[in-house]
Each structure stands twice: as C-alpha cells, then as structure tokens.
Symmetry: C2
Subunit: 696 residues, 2 copies
C-alpha cells in the first residue's frame, strides 16, 4: 500500500505484503457477513431483542422533570421484562434458563438504545436479581422470581460513601440476635451510608445489603455478607429505621433513581441472609462451605464479575450506536470545497475526518471480538458450574486460577471498553458539529450516560491495578487481596510463574516468543503483529517485577512506597495485557472468514488499523525499549493513513455490520437540511429543532 | 532529582541540574504569589468581579424545565450587566471604556462559575453587542447601548445549517431595493437556515444577521455583510416573515436558548446595514474603505477573533474550577490502605492520582500564561487601532501580517484550551468517583457545557487547519482564503519566508536555532527545552512544505488531494506551533518571579512537568526523527514521576493560586461523609444528596 503522499517526504521503509487498497465502491453484502461475525453465536437472541425493542419508547426521555423521566424509565424496564430476555439469565431452579451470560448480551443491546434503560435493567435483573439468584438458596425463591417479574423491585446495597471500591472494609453491620432470631442491620457513621444505589430513590422496595456479619461470642466479623432488606412499605414510605436519600440530578443516567440508604438498627429475619456461601443457625453459629475467608469474599462478589463485563458491553453498545450515527452523517454531510471542484466535499472525504472516526471504529471491532470471547468463556464456566463439573465452593486449583483470571479479564475489559466509549462518543459528537450537541440526535446522552461507567462497578484505575496485581501474583488465590509486601515477596520468588501465567483466551494463536528479531518480517504479518504486542506485554511485566523486587529488603512502609511508585507501571502492564488479548481476538476472528472473500479483505484492514494504532499509542515506548526501529514506527504511522483512505468508502458498511436498530438511526440530523438528501427539500423546514415557536 | 523507584529498573541517564524535591510542607503564601502571576495586569478587574459574582445565584440551575432554567439564566445575565464589567469592553464612542480585551477576562471568570452564564453573556455583550459596536457606526449607537443595558437583547446570526464553519459561502441574501430604500433579507433553502443561534429561541428581540449583499445591477454578491434585523415584536411574537425555531434540549449550556431563524423576504431599512466596512447609498451604489473583498471579509469577522480567545478562556475557567474541586477532594478523601499502615491513604498519596491531576494542572498553567500574553497583545492591538495609530481599513503590511498572526494565534489557542478543558474536566470528574457524577458537585455540568466549545466559534479541526494554512502561507493577507493550489504554489516558492514568519509572542526568549546538538545540555535547562519544542515545530513545518511542494506539477484536483492527505500533518504543525508558544510563555512567566523564591522553585517544577509532558505526548515522533535519544525520552518520563511526587504536597497551593470564588468550592462532596473532616461528623448525615425523602 503505497501512496502519493510519501512523495517528497522522507520515505518510510516500504513494507512487503501490504494489502491492496479496497475498491472504491463497497460491496454492501459485506455488512451482513461481518454482522454474523460480530454477533457471534448469539445472533438469534440478539435479533430477537433488536426487533422487540425497536420502538421510539425504548429511547431515553430527554426533557421533563426528574420524576417524569424516572417514571417513564420504569415503564421502559417493563418493556424489557416483557421481552423475557433478561430472565433467561436466572438459574433454572428459579425459573430461568441458566444462561447467565445473556445478562452481558442484554446490556450491550440495551446500551445501544438507552443507557438509563441498560443500567436500571442491570440493577433490577443483574444485581438485585443476580444477588438473590446466585447468593440465595431455596428459601429466597420468591425474591428471585419477584426480581424477574418486577413484583419485587430491588437494589444492590454495596457501595458506601467512605468505601467506594474498597468493599472488604465496608462499615455497615449485621449482628445476629439469637433472642429474636433476627439480624440487626446498622449504619454506624455517615461514611457508612450506602450511596449511589440505583433503583432506590424512587422505585425499590427491597435491597440486597452488604454488611459485616457478626455473631454472638465472636469478636471479629465473619466478613461481608449479603442480606435481603425491605426498605419501603408497599405504600412507598420507608420502613421504620430505614432512611432513604435521593441523589437527585446527576451528570447522566437521569432516569435511574440513585439514592442513599442508612439503617438505624433495622431488624430482619435470620432467613434474610443469602446463605449460599455462609449461614448462621438459630443459635448463632456461623458455618460456610468455603474455609478461606478471602476466597469466600471473592466468591460472593462473583456477581460483580458479570456486572463488570456487562458494563463494558453497555459502553460498547453506546459506542456502536454513536459511531453509526456519526459515520452515516459523514457520508451525507458536505462542508467546504477544498478540492476546488465547485461542490463541497463530504466529511468522509477529508483525511482528518476519516482518521477521527475509522481509527476508533477499528478499536470498537477489537473490543467486540474480545467481548465475544469473554462472554463465551463466562458462559462455559457458568454452565460447568451449573452441572457441578466445576465446584464453586471447592474448585480445583486450576479452576481457582481460572476464576482469578476471569476476574482479571473482566476488570481489564471493563476499563478498556468504557474508556474507549468516553473517548469515542465524544469524538462522534464533535464529528457531527453543532448537530451532535442537540439532544435529539442522542450523542450527548450516550456520552453523559456512559461517563459514569468509568467509575462504577469498580473505578477503572482501581480495576486496572487489580488486574496488574493479579498478573503479578499469577492469579494465586491465596493472594486474593494481597498487601503491598505480599506482592513484593511473591514477585521476588515467582518470576517464571508470573511470566508463564499470562494466558490467552484463544486457541489457534501461537503463544509468546521470548526472543524477537522481526525486522525482516512484514509489519502486516499477523504473527509479527502478535509478537510485537506480546513482547510489549512481557517486557513491561518483567521490568515491573524487577522494579518491585528491589523492595523486598525494605520495611513494610518503605516497600509500600515502592509499590505506590510503581502504580503507573502496573497500569501499563494491565493495558499491555488487554491490548495483547484484543490483537489475538482480532486475528482469530479474521481466520473464521473465508480466505479470498471481500469480508476477509475488509476485516484484515480493520485488524491492521487497530494493531498499528495500538503500536502508535505506544510509539515512544517501543523505540525507547529498542523493540521497534524508528523506520518501523514511521511505516506504521504511514500505514494508518493509507488504511483509513482505503477503508473510507467501506466505513458505512462497517457500521452497518453493527445492525443498530432503525429507531436509533432515525435522527433529525439526517433530515433537517444539513445533509445531501435534505438541503433543498422543503420537508427539511419541518424536522426536529426546525419546528417553529410562535411566541417566546 | 533521583528517587528510590529507579532502583532495580533499567536506569535512565541521570540529568544534571535537576531541581531539588520540594519541602513536604507547602508554604501557603506561595498561592498568593502565583495568583499575582496568573492574574497578570488585570488583578483588580478580576478581583472585583470575583467578589461581585460570588453568590449562589451565579451558579448554574441544574433541575427544572428548560423554560425555568432559561428564565433563571436571564436573571443571572442581569447580575452580570449590573457588575458593569462586560460593558467596559465597548468603544468609548458607545459609552464603554474601549477595553475590548475585558471580554476575554470576563468569559474566563464567568466560565469559572457557570458555562451557560459565560456563553449567554458572551452572545449578548460580545457577539451581538460586539457586532454593532465594531461593525456599526454612529447611526447604530442605540443598538450598542441597548446591548449594554439589556434593553435590546440580541443574537449573532451567522451560522447556517449547511455551512457551519464556511462563513464565506453563506446562502442568506440581503438584496437592496432602491424603490423603498430597504434591504430584503431572505432564506433561500433549508440549508440556509440560521442555526444554533444563542439568545434566540426565547429572549432575543434583535439579531446581527450575516448575509450575502446584493445591489441592483451587480450580479455578484459584494460578500457577506452584517445587518441589524428585528426578529421579535415587543410582545415576544416573531416579526412577520421571520420564523424562529427552538433547538430545545442540548447536551449542555441548558440555559442558553439556542434557536433557528429563517427569513421570508423580510424588509429592513437601508440603515440597518452595519456600515463600518461597506455601505450602500440610497441609489444602491456599494462602497467600501477596503478594496480587497477578501480582506474586507476577514476584517468584518474580527469579532470572531476575540470570541475565539474568549471561548478558550471560558474553557480554561471551567478547567480551573474543576481542578480546584478535584484537587481539594484528593487532599481530603481517603481510600484503601495500600501502605499497610492501618489507615487508608489520601487520594493524593497515590502516584496514579497525582499523575492524573497534576500533569493537566501544569498544562492549565501553560494555557493561562499564554492566554495572558494573547490578551495583552490583543489589548495593545485594539488600543493602537482606537488611537488611529493602526488603521483597520488600511493597515501597513506589517500590521496586516500581525492581524493574520493574531487570527492564527486565536484559532490555535481556542483549540488547545477547549480540547484541554474536555479532557481535564472529565479526568477531574473521574478522580472524584461517584461524587463527581452528582450534579450538585458541578463537575458534570462544567463538562457538558464546555463540550460544545470544541466545535462552536469555529470547529477545532477547522481552526487548526486554518492555523496550519496561515503558517504555510506566512500570514500573507493576499492569501486570506487560499485554495489548495494557492497553498501549494506559495509553499513551493516561499520556503524561507514561511520558516522565518513563525513568530513568538514574547521578547525575552531567544529565537529558534537551526542546528541542534543538545545531548550534553540538561533536560532541565530552559534553553534546551525551548530548542526541543522549537525544533519540532520547525521540522514538522519543513516536512509539511516538502510534502506539499511535490504537488506543484499536478492538476488542480490531484493537487487538492495531496493537500487533503496532508491534513493530519497540517494539524500537527498547528499543535507544534501552539505548544512552542506555551513553552515560551512558561519560561517568560517564570523569569518574572524572584530568583531563589519559593514561588519560583514551585513554578519551575510546573514548567518542567508541562514541558516533559509535551515531549512525552510526542515521544514517538521525537525518536523517529532522531531529535531525542531513547535515553533522553526515558529520562523525561522518569522526571514526570519525580515531579508529580515533588509537587504532590504543593498541589493544593497550585489550585489555590487560581483564586476560585468560594461559592464554587462550597460543594457537598467536602461535607457529606466522604472526606476526613466529615466521616464521623453527625452533620454529614444532612448534606447534599444525603437529605432524606419520605415517600416515593
């Protein structure tokens, strides 16, 4: 792929095996082929929900009082309940299909329509419903079924004001009173207030409350456990002893009624403890099928794993809708006449515009194929657990490691997908200019709603550090919540374990090579690309270990300082890890397409674009570490320009492959006089915000 | 500056003259010293407005219907009018002080309180008022004074649906009818609809409408001119022939009533033409004191120059408020206990947190000192124009070049300041976690309001290209609106002019050196830093010229393609240009501080941090071009970590220097149970969104 632009400028080394520029006229049939790939094995369930929700009512309500917007959202959640999709994720015992992973697919699709709808549904079915379904037992069936049929609206009472991401140190207490056979739920201080709890300020009648469990005669807490607590009477007034606050207006997700909860020695029956992994008998004796307190804690937090993947998926859903809107606009809207041709050019005809949309589009593809692999793995794990082949309470060592790896994957995936959502939706908004800022065109609402995805269900920075720590401790479950010095000591003595443990998700791609001398290979070779990103992952990890090992002879405090100073390094390690997995996923996805087909040729260029963008994001590092020569990096930079030019005419096909429901794409900006079809069309006077006002 | 962290990791080359780590206990008096520097020569006017506006009512209204929020905003604008600040920017002839630059200071300060207030005030006083003040003559005095005292609310009717940033090709027509001595204002097609016009959907009674001017017997338009058009009767109903649309809900700036305007052959008196730079006599003869149509157009667009700097300043204002909130929160809020010390650490104690806030803080300082230089230059230019020393209509060649340079500076400054606002406010929001997402803490409103700054008053991408083109054409006013081939031809023959024309704003800093062999110099030397960024600017420009020169033998269409493909290169040139000016401004500002003083020591580290961050943003390029060795880049990377560690304890002092009004900083997140002072304080139960609801 060589182009006129290099003439006259210092030439980058030409690359062999560079793909041909794609035909200028795209083959629209490719969209269907790529849709099949992106939908993965779940095309049917996705198409079903696309069709059922393809109604104006699924979109966010923009104007109105908070009360109106919240009331409208509850009706929309009822639409989702009617579709039946989210209920299939419940266990068979509770009347579901045991397809837990459908919760992930669901949030991706709901996120394409409406962030508030995705999140409120996620709270009701996935968090409140998921907690009673997974942590509860037979005696909690009525709650699971109430969550499914909406007869019991509930919330997930985990986060406390003083302890956002630090769940293990929650302050709320649940103290067993053998006299009355009740638990007493109490909020000891303002910092123990449950905050940001969705489905609480207006609608919730119940909450799955996480609290430190105390039993008589045992001084120490048995750790955080989950309890079903009634918070409102049927008439909507708070239960005695429960104080409910309203967070009011937020920066997004306006329909979701986030609120606060405090408990003044509220008494609940002993059976309200969700007792799958820990129970208290009538006398107050505590028992658990899991001996390790640490492992028990992380097992109970299992609902968070799915929640994190699902939040990432909801962010990806909004990203796809936004890219579809902005890309279609770029193919219709004209602006300026740089070409001196007498007609203004389309936005997509500008190199800068192609770069701003097609580069994030390629990354969106990579996130989607990784999400598919993760979802598949999650589905496999939960189905093996359902059959008993995989014991949740007493897993094999390999299963325990795989669980920690799943936690790591979910954390890193959530961070990469939600950060990408924030960046990309903003870019889409700007790419649509003033029209992008009008709420009727949805982009600003996607942007505002997805913003908080970066910090809820685990703050991205904290999650990336969690991933980095898991990588450093080789997923050892004994170190589920390692202190700084635990990490230092482990890293000092288990280097090879750590390096070996970095697993891939796929199967067809060769594992990492230790030596690397690829200057004769082509930048466009998949194997070479994989080696480049794997080598980065490995080198970042090795230097991180070296850096930390230096602390093993220091005091606890000094050692902790070293860990703190390695924070950005740990974050880099997590990024390198997840980007490596995305590259693998792209290569594997490409190999499922027929050799020689148009869809494969297009997908290959998307893969190149994603890989080169990933390399250029770290262009400084690659040269500092002598992994890539300056010529190589220049060649990657030049190739990005060639690729966006080649993919330009195909970029609408690429967003069509997302199969975004038509109601989402039916936006005023396509009809109001700003695009080719509408400029001189008298009907354009009467669209969207063109509608006149008589008097103001 | 060496630190424990480097032990065990591959060591970067040690740098001489690295500054000492600052004392762990900050000297709070430094905040006042730095405030003096940042306020520049305008401390008095700024302090005055800080005090006058320091009231709850200046903050944005968050909840309510659009009508309520808009009505409330109009009252807030009246507060601003009462303060008298914005009126001083009007010419003395109209009763102002002729201090045009106060419009820039004003938007910075208003932006610290409330984006909607900044923008609606900017429209009323700066755009509508500025247009009649600058483009009008004696006969338009009543409009200027009506703009100042709010008796005439008005708007700036420039943007059209089909021509966002392409003002020269506006479609609205103003045709002179000598029979009635009137102009006929007409909207010929939907794409000619005036859109996104602030102060229009609800409040405006008047508009400064930009339209192609036609006179009898002359086929071609005399170019875009500005007319005062009444759009509403006193009772609020639209004037006959004027259709007003309402954009309704937007992604931000909710209080600003943006609307659309279309004109169905609306007749206005001949005198409604703002005739400073072009007039039509009763018979319909057109005259202008400016011969060149191109220069006439750009002279009339002069109001945009100030508007662009002011929008950048408004973005910087919101950025400063956001950083102050997030930084103070980081100094109070505790989270986790990585240090194994038994108490959770403050957020600012985490390296990752220091990086995410202090690095953008350093860039905010750089933007502020550049803004001060720009404002000073703008003030000098306008005061010389007011005395007649500088003729607006017949400038000397040097003055004409300086005007084009001012246009370039304004465009690039607006782009860099608003992009930085978007990124930084988002980072601040995330750094405050869930609390950052609650509207009561203001961050999401700053974020939503400033979003559109990236695309209005000129889309940032378009502005950066404008800057790039101006650089490429060496500010030649004959090429005010060059075609692609004009640029190619100019670049092919005027290389040395182009390279020489890149000017600085300051005086004390030595000009660029052509040769560069600085490996023996220290990274921490100001001269060295300046050379590094200047060399980047120069090399990017040289290679851009080379690339474009290759097109001079091609056809017009082929040549235009080459220009299109150089788009990202042109954007890079504009970035390199403005970053160079920021580095210069930082060095010059530092030299005004007493040698050996604490404030100078602190400021110096802020300068280093900004410079190294700028280098690392382009780390790939610096190595690809062999400008910096990998060791140097590594050293800069390591120094960034040392600098955020050193500045960590001082970072609250650094935001205190912004002197953000106390009403802005009086946010619930400091009192509601999430920070040190509030955790166990019973009053914290009753703050902000903790306030209970009784029934829902």
């Amino acid at each position: 792929m060589t182009s006129v632009e290099d003439k006259g400028s210092r030439k980058a080394k030409p690359e062999s095996r560079s793909p041909q520029t794609l035909p200028e006229t795209p083959d629209t049939a490719v969209a269907g082929k790529l849709k099949t790939l992106l939908d993965g094995p779940w095309a049917e369930v996705k198409d079903n929900i696309r069709e059922q929700l393809n109604r104006e009512e699924a979109l966010p309500m923009i104007e109105g009082s908070l009360e109106e917007i919240r009331a409208a959202l509850l009706e929309k959640v009822k639409m989702v309940a009617t579709s039946g999709m989210m209920q299939t994720a419940f266990s068979k015992a509770n009347g579901g299909s045991g397809e837990s992973h459908v919760g992930i697919l669901g949030l991706d699709l709901l996120g394409q329509f409406n962030g508030s709808l995705a999140i409120k549904s996620g709270v009701q079915f996935g968090l409140w419903g998921g907690a009673v379904d997974v942590l509860g037992t037979e005696r909690h069936r009525e709650y699971a079924q109430g969550a499914m049929d909406l007869s019991k609206l509930g919330s997930y009472g985990m986060t406390e004001r003083g302890h956002g991401s630090n769940v293990q140190d929650l302050e709320t207490t649940a103290t067993y009173d053998p006299e009355t056979k009740e638990f007493v739920i109490n909020t000891p201080s303002p910092s123990a207030t449950k905050v940001y709890i969705g489905n609480t300020a207006r609608d919730g009648r119940w909450s799955a409350v996480f609290a430190q469990l105390y039993t008589p005669g045992v001084e120490e807490s048995h750790g955080v456990h989950c309890f079903v607590v009634r918070i409102r009477e049927e008439d909507g007034s708070p239960v005695e002893g429960v104080t409910i606050g309203d967070h009011g207006h937020k920066g997004g997700l306006l329909g979701v009624d986030n609120g606060t909860l405090t408990f003044d020695n509220v008494r609940i029956p002993r059976e309200a403890l969700l007792n799958q992994f820990g129970d208290v008998d009538e006398e107050g004796n505590y028992t658990s099928p899991i001996d390790s307190k640490n492992r028990r804690f992380f097992t109970m937090l299992g609902t968070l794993i799915r929640g994190r993947i699902a939040v990432g998926a909801a962010g990806a859903g909004a990203t796809k809708s936004s890219l579809a809107i902005a890309m279609k606009y770029a193919h219709q809207r004209r602006q300026f006449d740089y070409g001196d041709t007498g007609t203004e050019d389309k936005l997509i005809d500008y190199r800068a515009h192609r770069r701003r949309l097609i580069i994030p589009l390629a990354r969106t593809y990579a996130i989607q194929v990784l999400q598919n692999q993760l979802t598949q793995r999650y589905a496999d794990q939960t189905s093996r657990q359902a059959t008993g082949e995989w014991s949740v309470t007493n897993p094999t060592k390999q299963q325990a490691l795989a669980s920690r790896e799943m936690e790591t994957l979910a954390a890193a995936f959530k961070a990469v997908a939600t950060e990408h959502a924030t960046d990309t939706i903003q870019e889409c908004r700007e790419a649509c200019g003033g029209a992008g800022f009008m709420s009727e065109n949805l982009l600003t609402t996607y942007r505002a709603d997805t913003d908080v995805y970066n910090t809820f269900e685990g703050d991205n920075t904290v999650l990336l550090q969690l991933a980095g720590k898991n990588l450093l401790t080789a997923y050892t479950s004994e170190l589920a919540n390692p202190s700084a010095m635990d990490i230092v000591k482990f890293a000092a003595t288990n280097v090879s374990d750590i390096i070996r443990s970095r697993a891939g998700l796929g199967s067809t791609v060769q594992s990492v090579v230790d030596t690397f001398s690829g200057e004769e290979a082509s930048l466009f070779d998949a194997d070479y690309q994989l080696k480049v990103v794997q080598l980065r992952e490995q080198l970042v990890m090795r230097s991180l270990i070296r850096r930390i090992q230096g602390a093993r002879k220091l005091s606890r405090e000094e050692g902790a300082k070293v860990i703190d100073k390695a924070q950005d390094h740990m974050l880099n390690a997590a990024w390198a890890y997840i980007e490596n997995l995305m590259v693998q996923a792209m290569i594997e996805a490409e190999r499922t397409l027929p050799v020689g087909s148009a869809e494969r040729a297009v997908f290959e260029q998307v893969r190149h674009l994603f890989v080169f963008d990933t390399i250029i994001r770290n262009a400084g590092w690659y040269q500092e570490q002598n992994v890539l020569s300056s010529g190589r990096v220049k060649a990657a930079r030049a190739a990005i320009n060639d690729l966006v030019d080649s993919l330009g005419p195909w970029s609408e096909v690429l967003v069509d492959a997302f199969d975004i429901p038509s109601v989402v794409l039916d936006r005023p900006l396509f009809k109001d006089g700003g695009t080719d079809d509408s400029r001189d069309n008298p009907e354009a006077w009467k669209v969207g915000s063109n509608i006149p006002v008589s008097k103001k």
